[in-house]
């Protein structure tokens, strides 16, 4: 169960206080009517869904009620950073400053007991 640092409350809080809200940084097209059906469908439904570093939006629902962004590894579940709405991530899938995910890498799907 996640322990999430809320950038607005300035402390780690239990996952149960938060709701995940899907992929971060999806902007609504400025001129929806200028979009084709395909572009509009892409905006509504099509997602990166990466296996690895992922930027997602959460809301501190039982707390300050603020939305914010989380960079999280979707296999190790390690949270690499959280940042406020409107800010950009400092860690991305390709970035150099990505911490070594030693245990993330070791956590390939193993054999289960």
């Amino acid at each position: 169960m996640f322990y999430i640092y809320c950038p607005y409350c300035g402390e780690h809080r239990e996952e149960e206080e938060f709701h995940p809200k899907g992929q971060a940084h999806i902007e609504r097209p400025k001129e929806p009517e200028a979009c084709s059906d395909e572009e509009w469908g892409d905006y509504l439904f099509f997602r990166d869904n990466p296996r690895g570093v992922h930027h997602e939006m959460w809301v501190h629902a039982v707390g300050c009620r603020k939305f914010f962004n989380v960079t999280r590894h979707t296999v190790s579940y390690e949270i690499l950073e959280t940042y406020k709405m409107g800010e950009q991530p400092s860690i991305t899938a390709g970035s150099q400053n990505q911490p070594r995910l030693a245990h993330a890498v070791s956590q390939k799907e193993g054999v289960r007991a």
């Binding site: 322990y3 609504r28 509009w40 509504l44 956590q107 193993g110 007991a113």
Partner: protein
Amino acid sequence: MSQSKQQMYRLNTGGRIDRSHTLSFTFNGERYQGHPGDTLASALLANGVDIVNRSFKYSRPRGIVAAGAEEPNAIVQLGSTEAAQVPNVRATQQALYDGLTASSTNGWPNVQRDLMGLIGKLSGQFMPPGFYYKTFMAPASMWLTYEKYIRMAAGLGCSPMEVDPDSYDHLHQHCDVLVVGAGAAGLAAALAAARSGARVIVADEQEEMGGSLLDSRETLDGKPADQWVARVLAELAGCENVTLLSRTTANGYHDHNFVTLHERRTEHLGETAPVVHGHRQVRSRMHRVRVGQVILTTGAHERPLVYAGNDVPGNLLAGAVSTYIRRYGVAPGRKLVLSTSNDYGYRAALDWNEAGCEVVAVVDAREAPAGDWVDATRAQGIKIITGSAVIEAKGSNRVTAARVAKIDIEAFKVSGPVQELACDTIASSGGYSPVIHLASHTGARPTWRDDILGFVPGLVKGVQACGGANGCYALCDVLAEGVEAGIKAAAAMGHAAQTVSLPSAEQLQQGPAVALFQVPHEKPTLRGPKQLVDLQNDVTAAGIELATREGFESIEHIKRYTAMGFGTDQGKLGNINGMAIAARCLGRSIPEVGTTVFRPNYTPVTFGAIVGRHCRDLFDPERYTALHQWHVERGAEFEDVGQWKRPWYYPQKVNGKAETMHEAVARECLAVREKVGILDASTLGKIDIQGPDAREFLARIYTNKWEKLAVGKCRYGLMCKDDGMVTDDGVTSCLAENHFLMTTTTGGAAAILEWLELWHQTEWPELDVYFSSVTDHWATMTITGPEARKLLAEISDIDLDRDSFKFMDWRSGKVGGVPARVFRISFTGELTFEINVQANYAMHVWQTLFKHGEKYGLTPYGTETMHVLRAEKGFIIVGQETDGSVTPEDLGMQWAIGYDKPYSWIGKRALIRSDTKRENRKQLVGLRPKDPKVVLEEGAQIVLDPKHAIPMPMVGHVTSSYYSPVLDSGFALAVVKGGHQKLGETVYLPMADGQTHEAEIVSTIFYDPKGERQNV
């Protein structure tokens, strides 16, 4: 009831039991005695009970093999009453209490004389792994019959059939350092961490803390090790920053260092929780712990050797033999043969011999064993047979002899003549497997170490393993590792280390162990007698070999095909042996065959403890309005709407008989249409919206226009998601130029507030607007019906004149002396006032209304009547007329769509997608049954050709359907493909009972189509 039996295997001295007190207990109907400090297992052994169970598949007799969590056989049913039954209790982990009642989970008619065992013996060879995949296929129709008989053999214990009398709870814990396991390493780690000032929790699954130090032969500072344990525990108990939890199993390790600890608070006291000082205690408690640093000092489990007949009662783990002697004062037999691959096993022979029982021989697989304990064994005159192993245990209900022979491990064969040694007990040791379960729970893969012949935990952030759990077994090293881990963990949490001086431990000389798992037999594995790997599931070495022959090469396939490790012990004894056997069969190494990753729980956990207090009356919150008491007293039936309890209808007694719902609703409907009714509408979501951009925000979030709504006016609004589908609706009122009050559906309140915040915070932060929930602040009372104005006028100072307080206006003033906002909006089609007052005044205002309303026939009505009345008017309910696939246009609500609003509001773009523009979309219509007596079934499907063969093309379904008292007929709302163009057409509704109803497609408005009544 027979006489209490003597404890004939109880030693006269030794152990941590209290011989001055005697406890009596019942097992399989026989009465026995034991002592405080016993487990059920030690007490059974003391009484010479050999057969404690029958195996699952072959129904073979089984005895106790272990002394802890790894026990696969001694699985019992506990409880003397139906409600107190507990299935599948491990006798090795159940403290004995006076009056304990237990029985075997398998065996018919009983475990001693078991008929199923006969079948197992005869037909065992026809039940290789996976046999059921290969048979029972013909004829196809017979499978359910076959399965019925297969199911008769299912299960171990029995579920209670009555409701649990006990309660359970949770404790949300937070600590810097959690130490799991209070053995040597754990206590050392805890001491180091505690002295640093860190918040420490120590959890240990046993009755007493101390782990292996409680039955150790070794000394600390020259004294018995348990004295050091007592000293450390006393210090820890005195620390304010330390919580000691015994009888507490860390059963799950979850992400970001969240650990669940299951504390069995009263299971050692009796079968139900006791009452202390008049207060009933909770049976067990789940600690949900968020940990800074986890230290796993969970020790190691001994591996048995896999030899033929190793499941006959009397075959035990070597370490368990020592534990029973030294901790419980029980020698589980008279004549011992020990088969070992390592020095640790020798402990059992020494303890056995010192307890005054006969050690027939130690059989060591190594050619030249050497070490302190080996020397001690020799010194005691015990025979050691080297380069050999017990290849087979003889006996059926108890071991009678051990067949011993030279073995060639490399060549996997028996290499010398076999001698038979008479004995009643065979102890075996194949080395130790670190208990790595918790470290594996989040997916970290353990690493195989050839030097210790075991897996050690993989790397997990914030977790250290030390001592046996890390493959470190020498006591002095274990203590040092523990202290180091404790210091490191505390330091990581910002607590500086204090010195901890280690007690001096003996430096034992030990020789290297040999890798021995399955012991060869004279016959090939497939032809020889059964060599059990997983005792609970009757998985044999032959079964594993067969699986590999059939192409099951991944260890996961082998486990699934043979069921190895799927028991309640989850393979704690057998899994590594199984992997080793698979590796041998496949010609691979153990790590090549596959590592093991465990899943919670470490040991099984009572559902009740996981559920905690979230059951019965507290399963889910019941939300009440300020008027709930009144509804209850009035005898309302309630409907669940989200978490709210809303009055559904108010059945009255007529001639001493309670009305049916149909009667009550008809009465309530007519009261509204003819006189005046009142509804508690407090549950509607209410959101206070303030700010200069509030209006612009509404225009973007709602489908309709808001720019011209004047102060004092209200407007109905529809909300879509950006896929164009309706998601909520409600009335929003303009309280001031920059101030609006939005209402939402009862179920949608929280989600809509979050929805508004989502758009504001992520897309439109430039809009100056704030949202606050005021749902609970206001109580809302809807009075509706022709007499509503007269009633309200009696108790309100508001000018209610139809021209000054128009439909869709709101006014403030006093009602019943209480400041109120009154909204002239209508969900019934009648003249309606929605009175909002601060909730603390609600009861007073409601009662005042009734005081004055009697003469007008004021009638309380519930949600059912509300539904009928609104449906007569064609008003939708989001979630009933809509299902996530309905657009505002489908609802025929183009009047609520601002097509030309400047901002492309949420949902607008989606309305011009190819599918949303489609002609034959399902559209909302009214349905009038051809037979007015018919009330169509809600959910009835609509077809155009009822004679069409199945599958019959369906064009829509009934969303709402009621009997209308005012129309004296049934009527319905429905969605029908292209329905807006089909007014007047006939459709058909084929029902499950074979009837087909006919109905005409009509307008959605059945009553007062011009809307005059609400405007009066």
